[in-house]
């Protein structure tokens, strides 16, 4: 049993309760026991006090979208390494995508993940089930059975359901189960094997482009299907201005849609592939660490995504943490794998928006805690909150320096660092003093 913890002298931000003040937080028996003025906590036996002076104390982050790669791609990441990275990044709950091998399209494969998490996981992992068997887009999975294993929604992430008919049937089923379809929106016929955003940089580099419309077409289609079926639809990794507009209009109409955006789509543009921000190269970089799907877009898109976050069109920030081996990335741009490893750099990267005055800290924290928790619902208890009685998932961070690995932020001096991550009252990550 972990000791009771008193987190003292920090700046507590809990958007779920509208708290934004200097206060102390008491954790007993793995739950939030008390929150109040400094030095006034009820006395406890077996108490460890954590000095949080100068730190922000907030609910543990909730990531709706990551790839833990197990089973099948253990050379890229495992549940053990991925959840450790999550803890280091301040995430206490992560939802893992089902594009593993075998994919999470049966009760057995999801049971495998749940058991491995229990044995080796550092943070809470909530699996997402496949929409279709083998992620082939042809036949629905046994969605009801998958729901019983505890999936938080269904997704064929990476290989979106091409058939409108199959997608409408999936939504009918998902609606009956009261679970969202989590939608990777891409018309693969239009993206046609492209590598990066279709625009001036792809033209300059001679790389095949992925038009923004490839995303927007499926966003629009699936919103129409959500309206038809009544199904909750969650749009994954929104990357374009028009997608934001389409989602905004759908929300105004009352369609049950939520949306997420990644830290990299909020902070990097397509130009990152061409030349590094880090050093002034004379030469083009073709940086495969910036190869991701959906691709990095433009300044206009970033502005629209930030606006969407502020006005509530976009509910959550999710990492789309997609780890790869160096072999997958140290190769020709066209042959390199898509994906950015994001769990460890998310906070620092997002804080750059706060430091740049584009987003306030409270909104940022709500997009990492209470809002994604709302999308998951309460079947796992209340997440993303510091309410008394809730499981004590807490993150402490500061505003200084950090860095990461298969990431376009590598070597970048970002400000902000997770100092401690607590899951169910247990310290799962503590920053080592340098």
């Amino acid at each position: 049993m972990s000791p009771n913890l008193l987190i003292s002298g920090g700046h507590i931000i809990d958007p779920s309760q509208g708290i934004d003040k200097a206060a102390d937080l008491l954790i007993t028996k793995g739950k939030i026991a008390w929150l109040g003025d400094k030095g006034t906590a009820p006395s406890q036996s077996d108490l460890t006090t954590i000095d949080a002076a100068g730190l922000v104390v907030c609910p543990g982050f909730v990531d709706l979208h990551c790839h833990l790669r197990e089973p099948g791609f253990e050379d890229k990441e495992t549940i053990a390494t991925g959840t450790k990275a999550a803890a280091k990044g301040g995430f206490t709950t992560v939802c893992c995508m089902p594009n593993t091998n075998p994919p999470l399209d049966t009760q057995a494969s999801i049971d495998y993940v749940n058991k491995t998490v229990e044995a080796e996981g550092t943070v809470q992992v909530l699996p997402i089930g496949c929409v279709t068997k083998g992620r082939q887009g042809k036949e629905l999975t046994e969605m009801s059975e998958l729901a019983n294993t505890g999936v938080i929604g269904f997704s064929d992430d990476g290989d979106p359901v091409a058939s409108s008919r199959i997608m409408s049937l999936a939504m009918d089923y998902s609606h009956a189960l009261d679970l969202p379809i989590i939608d990777h929106c891409e018309d693969k016929d239009l993206s046609d094997g492209g590598y990066m955003n279709d625009g001036w940089v792809s033209t300059r580099l001679g790389l095949k482009g992925i038009p923004k419309a490839a995303e927007e077409i499926i966003v629009a289609r699936d919103l129409a299907l959500a309206q038809l079926t009544g199904c909750k639809l969650h749009i994954a990794h929104v990357s374009t201005e028009s997608s934001v507009e389409i989602i905004r209009r759908a929300k105004e109409k009352g369609i049950a849609v939520t949306a997420e955006v990644t830290p990299h789509h909020l902070t990097l543009t397509e130009e990152r592939i061409m030349d590094s921000q880090l050093e002034k190269h004379n030469q083009l970089t073709y940086d495969t660490n910036a190869k991701v799907n959906p691709p990095l877009r433009t300044e206009e898109d970033i502005a629209a995504l930030i606006k969407g976050l502020k006005d509530g069109t976009i509910d959550a920030i999710a990492t789309d943490h997609a780890p790869h081996t160096s072999v997958d990335k140290m190769c020709e741009f066209g042959l390199a794998a898509f994906g950015i490893s994001g769990l460890e750099t998310a906070l620092a990267c997002l804080l750059s928006l706060v430091h740049g005055g584009q987003l306030d800290l409270k909104t940022l924290i709500s997009k990492l805690t209470s809002e994604p928790a709302t999308i998951i619902g309460t079947r796992y208890g209340e997440l993303g909150t510091l309410k008394t009685g809730c499981r004590a998932d807490v993150t402490l961070f500061n505003d200084f320096a950090s860095k990461g690995k298969n990431t376009p932020f590598d070597g970048c001096q970002l400000k902000g660092k997770v100092i401690m991550t607590i899951v169910a009252g247990k310290i799962v990550y503590r920053e080592k003093p340098e």
């Binding site: 625009g199 001036w200 033209t203 300059r204 580099l205 001679g206 790389l207 190769c331 020709e332 066209g334």
Partner: protein
């Protein structure tokens, strides 16, 4: 650059002086986007000297004796590869030719590992052709020897652009204020991309003319962002050809039609084939160029391809002189 001893066994003993380090700053040739007008001028002038060597009975100088040039072609090529190998031999370099389709690449070796192996074998200059755009940029991050891009994907083919510039300069004296029409599959053309940089740097205007489906959607943005006011886009051939000084149709690959980019070859021929009649819209002394290989009767009529204005064969000859100049300059630049 190391002093190279004249070799009495070689008929033409003189060597070239090392290139001026004030002008020449390149260890590699990746594209022409980072070349100044002076640097391009130096390549062209050096090629003049090399062209003189090519007129001799024994077309060989000892300039790169003891140096090893390796050609690695990950894509089929006839003229570019032969041209580089002859150029290297004419400079007395040792040459090794790797056919990537028959080598370790088919055994699953990565590009980086293959390059490191070649370097370990003692290559001074690697000449690489690759189907993936950007492959030579990856290469230079992992090897220390010099790298010459002999074509990467849709991105760049700088030695081709330089031989085009050289050919134009030989006939018309200067590139300044010339109107150059490049016609055809701009989207997939590394030749067009490198020529955009080379020709505009030398003061020419470039008109890119193609069916709308063979123009990259980001072309306008490319022209704006890279500040290339002398590049313009046409979807009709007539305005592209009017008063042109140089016309360069590009090879049209048959699979473009099969993948739906063109309604039919028949229509392409009707709208874009360079015919005698269309050529009469250009200036009387117009040069007809082509990067090859030609699809006669598709992008260019046989009469034009073999007509009085055609310098297509001469481009091939000039290619050897240009590549000799490049190997010489790069080998010299390396040791500065």
């Amino acid at each position: 650059m190391k002093a190279i001893e004249p070799n009495p066994s070689i008929a033409t003993p003189e060597t070239f002086p090392p290139p001026s380090v004030d002008v020449w700053q390149h260890n590699h040739l990746l594209d022409l986007d980072d070349f100044t007008q002076e640097e391009i001028q130096l390549v062209l002038e050096t090629a003049d000297a090399m062209a003189e060597v090519l007129t001799r009975e024994v077309k060989r100088v000892p300039t790169l004796r003891g140096r090893t040039v390796v050609t690695m072609f990950y894509e089929p090529s006839t003229r570019t590869r032969a041209s580089f190998e002859l150029a290297a031999k004419n400079l007395s370099a040792d040459t090794v030719s790797l056919d990537a389709s028959k080598s370790s690449i088919v055994k699953g070796e990565s590009l980086i590992d293959s390059l490191c192996t070649i370097q370990a074998l003692g290559a001074d200059i690697i000449v690489m052709r690759h189907s993936q755009s950007g492959a030579p940029y990856l290469a230079t991050q992992h090897v220390n020897c010099s790298l010459i891009n002999a074509g990467d994907g849709w991105h760049a083919h700088p030695s081709q652009a330089l031989l085009d510039l050289y050919t134009i300069r030989r006939h018309l004296g200067t590139l300044a204020n010339l109107k150059v029409a490049i016609i055809g599959d701009i989207m997939h053309s590394r030749v067009a991309r490198s020529n955009i940089w080379g020709m505009t740097t030398m003061g020419a205007r470039v008109i890119l003319c193609a069916p709308p489906t063979l123009l990259p959607r980001g072309l306008d943005g490319f022209i704006d962002n890279c500040q290339l006011p002398n590049v313009s886009i046409e979807t009709e051939i007539k305005p592209a050809l009017e008063n042109a000084d140089v016309v360069m149709p590009l090879r049209l690959q048959m699979e473009r039609q099969q993948s739906g980019l063109l309604p039919s070859l028949r229509e392409y021929i009707q709208l874009y084939q360079l015919t005698m009649e269309r050529l009469s819209l250009a200036k009387p002394q117009v040069l007809v160029m082509h990067p090859g290989p030609i699809n006669e009767g598709i992008e260019i009529s046989p009469e034009v391809a073999h007509g009085a204005q055609s310098v297509i064969e001469e481009q091939v000859t000039n290619g050897v002189a240009i590549r000799m100049a490049l190997l010489y300059l790069i080998a010299g630049g390396k040791n500065k």
